[in-house]
Amino acid sequence: MTTRDIVFVAVGVVTALSALLSVTTKHVVHAALWLLVSLGSLAGAYLVLGQELVGLVQLLVYVGAIVVLVLFALMLTRAPIGPHAEIDTPWWQRAAGAVLGAATTALLASLLLPLLSGATVDLDAPAATTPRIAQAVFGTWVWPFELLSVLLLVALVGAFAVSRLVLHREDPAADGAVRRAEGVRR
């Protein structure tokens, strides 16, 4: 056990526990907050693994953007504040989920752990430093990188168009309700 191992175990335990809480809590908003904790500590795990850039991007994009988006979405869909029994699926489906989740863990662990069991890596001279990553992104990986830009652009355009979708053929009641909910923007 090295120091990095110990730190990683600590961060990893936080990550796993908060992830578990985020999928089991009865508070809708808490779920998102626990996710925030989990992803944040995962960023810490990346740091421990020597990938500063990835850790930072994780913080920026995931914690800073995605979780905030999720929170906004919860608010826009009027998620209830406080514990709520209705956010979980029926018990049998949760049981199936638990079985499948356990099976996934077991499958992955049974294959990954033997592969990685003896493997250690010396992170004092990391293989991929930030300049090298930058070089790789704009050199080797420039083609998928450019495609990624197209994907982001299209996703934004699509999301914008979808969210602006006017539902002009709903039941009058629901229509009106939504209109009121949306305020008098129009």
Binding site: T2, R4, L35, V70, A109, L152, G158, R186
Partner: protein, 156 residues
Amino acid sequence: MIHLALPGALVALLAGIGVYGVLARRNAVLVLIGVELILNAANLLLVTAGSRPGAPFSAGPVLTLFVITIAAAEITVALAIILVLFRRAGHIDLTAVPDLTDDPDDPDDPGDLDDEVESWGTPDGADDGTDDGTDEADDADGTAAPTAARSGEGAA
């Protein structure tokens, strides 16, 4: 020095928790949380595998960055669609049987990407003049104008 078995174990744990999260939640947004957990498990695996020396072209971290970006793109579209679902159905409960009926007087699903009705349209060149008028009518009496237009179209 770090033992790579530890991140490996965390990967397995996160993926399992993510699978459970996907199946245990009926709120669509919370299902997304499960998906994010699985994605992060994959990311961690990429970083772990990429931290081994000899991995070519910095592939581990670069792929991780790619996946994070893709996830961001996905989540924007996903949230937009969930909003639409909420506006349309009034809830985002994934265990509910969705309303698959279309309006009885749904205009001919026109076969193109829109389903506008001819009677909504105004002659060319009159666009700007009538724009505001219709919108005001919409606002003034809520749903009356669309309903009237719809019934008129049904009789046509």
